[in-house]
């Protein structure tokens, strides 16, 4: 009985509430978030990003010079994969992207663990590791080009002091690409470290304490607590460094211009070279290839990284 009256009272309350303040249901509130707020950004995005991207699919199928555009089908792509120097750039893009992002993950995680542990001068070390991120890429490239000079460079000079005959870092065709990748890692490891630090700091301290109580060693703590719980950070680092690495242009251009020969060319530098040479169609085909490479790698990678943890 009393339940019934309560229910009735409740229903009465609801209707009363409805009657008292009708003009505030959520539907009304929605109109205070106007959709036209999207328009300024959307206009920029469409004009300077979407239109060029869609146009690139058409222009990649043309012979395009300053003067005219002729439709030639897939010839540009055929050329792209037949000419040794263009193909080399295609392969190098994968090598460069994978090497840099793998190294940034490993080194970044190692540095982050070091810099979240109890060591002296932690603040200094954090700043010094991060600072190269903010320096101009071209400046870094030119500086290391001088430091890595095969004859008079500081690096080989230091190696010679230990009796090691330093290689021609940027002049040896087998080494140039990996040397540039090394400098890229030097410049970018700071941001990976920072992201990992943020991830590790967010792990509740109780977990570490509990593990230590149970007698877990440093390695055990790393594999069963730090590593699995910094997975979101890991995902961010992998995605950011892959996006950056696959598109990388300025560091390579500053240090080798794709040389010696075309051994350190990547797709992005091929795009620039073909553009400079006036082959706009071929250059745009390079852009489309880069687009396909980046999406083909990024979609499965981000699926894999976000899927298993199921965070978002």
């Amino acid at each position: 009985m009393s339940v019934l009256t309560n229910q009735a009272a409740g229903a009465a309350e609801v209707t009363a509430e409805k009657r008292v303040k009708p003009p505030r249901p959520p539907r009304k509130m929605k109109s205070f978030y106007p959709s036209w707020f999207y328009i300024p950004a959307a206009a920029l995005f469409i004009v300077f990003f979407a239109v060029p991207t869609f146009a690139s699919f058409y222009f990649s199928l043309t012979r395009w010079t300053l003067f005219d555009v002729t439709f030639i089908g897939f010839d540009n792509f055929v050329q792209f994969f037949q000419e040794q120097q263009l193909l080399q750039g295609f392969i190098n893009t994968f090598v460069y992207g994978i090497v840099t992002s793998a190294a940034k993950v490993v080194l970044g995680l190692a540095l982050a663990i070091l810099l979240t542990s109890q060591i002296i001068a932690r603040g200094y070390l954090r700043s010094v590791v991060f600072f190269p991120v903010l320096v101009s890429t071209i400046g870094v490239g030119l500086t290391f080009k001088v430091l890595l000079d095969p004859f008079d460079g500081v690096v080989n000079g230091a190696l010679a002091a230990f009796g090691i005959d330093g290689p021609g870092w940027l002049t040896d065709p087998n080494m140039a690409l990996l040397t540039v990748a090394g400098v890229d890692i030097w410049k970018g490891v700071g941001i990976a470290t920072l992201i990992f630090i943020a991830g590790i700091v967010a792990i509740p301290q109780d977990y570490f304490e509990a593990a230590r109580m149970d007698g877990a060693g440093a390695w055990k703590i790393f594999t069963s607590i730090t590593l699995p719980l910094s997975r979101p950070a890991m995902g961010t680092v992998v995605i950011l460094s892959l996006i950056g690495g696959l598109r990388s242009f300025d560091l390579i251009w500053a240090m080798t211009k794709g040389g010696p020969g075309f051994t350190s060319d990547v797709i992005a530098s091929v795009i620039y070279k073909q553009y400079q040479a006036g082959f706009f169609g071929l250059s745009t085909a390079g852009n489309v290839v880069l687009f396909i490479v980046v999406t083909a790698i990024m979609i499965p990678v981000s699926r894999l990284l976000n899927g298993k943890g199921d965070e978002s």
Partner: protein, 279 residues
């Protein structure tokens, strides 16, 4: 306990030593070479300058090509301020509505935001669009391009931050009679200050340091940006005898990001690590 302390000190000292070799030597090298005479700098050594020519080099760099670098600093300042201002206003509007309003187009917009983050811009077609709008080789054109390419990242930051502002605040403002525009610009926008500072600092450094987009969309000496002034040293014709000037140039264009870092260390870190905790 004492053993742990000793070990942490030893590890710390080793880390400091390594950090000096790996990270500080290259910067010291830049500064030292910028202070050398041409002959001294051409030797490429990591040595103390035999003769200090710091001031001479500074004057030479500032006056070459009719003060190209001064003009470049001016251009870069306008480029950075204008494009970052556009990013902040446009992206905050998108991030705000995207977070607040549930609607069918949200999925589409999220897709485009991610696409903008991942897809590499198509270079020559962008030039083609700029030419059609008569914006190619103009500073306004480059400003709009830089703003567009930065939008996605900013939208993500704004959307995440708007989620932390209680919706009741909007309702209160609406009951007090605020319209949609007043609600956003006088109630929400001021509350976004922390994330706005982060966006400004991170994007300002990115735009200021950008080399690729000015190279493509704003070629030519008369409206060079600071990164393009280094381009002259990229040519194969330049010899090692200009090293001192090159490193002076590098030093000069490193100062603005350095100043940003000193003053906004925390915001930069916040911006760069956003998303590290929540995927």
């Amino acid at each position: 306990m004492r053993a742990v302390k000793i070990r942490s000190t030893v590890v710390g000292l080793v880390a400091i030593l390594l950090s000096v070799i790996v990270f500080l030597v290259p910067f010291a090298f830049i500064v030292l070479t910028a202070a050398k005479t041409p002959k001294d700098a051409a030797a490429l050594g990591f040595t103390w300058p035999k003769e200090f020519a710091f001031f001479d080099n500074l004057v030479t760099v500032l006056t070459t090509r009719d003060g190209m670098i001064v003009r470049a600093f001016f251009n870069s300042a306008i480029l950075t301020i204008a494009s970052v201002a556009i990013m902040v206003v446009f992206a905050s509007m998108v991030g705000y509505v995207l977070q607040r309003k549930r609607s069918r187009i949200n999925g589409v917009i999220n897709f485009f935001v991610l696409a903008g983050l991942i897809v590499p811009p198509a270079v020559v077609p962008t030039i083609w669009v700029l030419q059609g709008l008569e914006l190619f080789k103009t500073l306004p054109g480059l400003i709009l391009v830089e703003a567009t390419f930065g939008l996605s990242f900013c939208v993500l930051l704004f959307r995440a931050f708007v989620a932390s502002i209680p919706k009741e605040l909007d309702e209160a403002a609406v009951i007090d009679g605020a319209g949609p525009i007043r609600l956003f610009f006088t109630v929400i926008l001021p509350l976004l200050r922390p994330v706005i500072v982060t966006v400004i600092v991170v994007q300002a450094v990115a735009v200021f340091n950008d080399f690729t987009n000015p190279l493509y969309f704003l070629p030519g000496d008369e409206n060079a940006t600071v990164q393009l002034t280094l381009y002259n040293f990229l040519g194969s014709t330049t010899s090692a005898s200009q090293n001192n000037l090159m490193f002076m140039d590098i030093l000069l264009i490193t100062i603005p990001p350095l100043v940003m870092y000193i003053f906004f260390n925390r915001q930069i870190v916040a911006g760069m690590t956003s998303g590290a905790i929540k995927g």
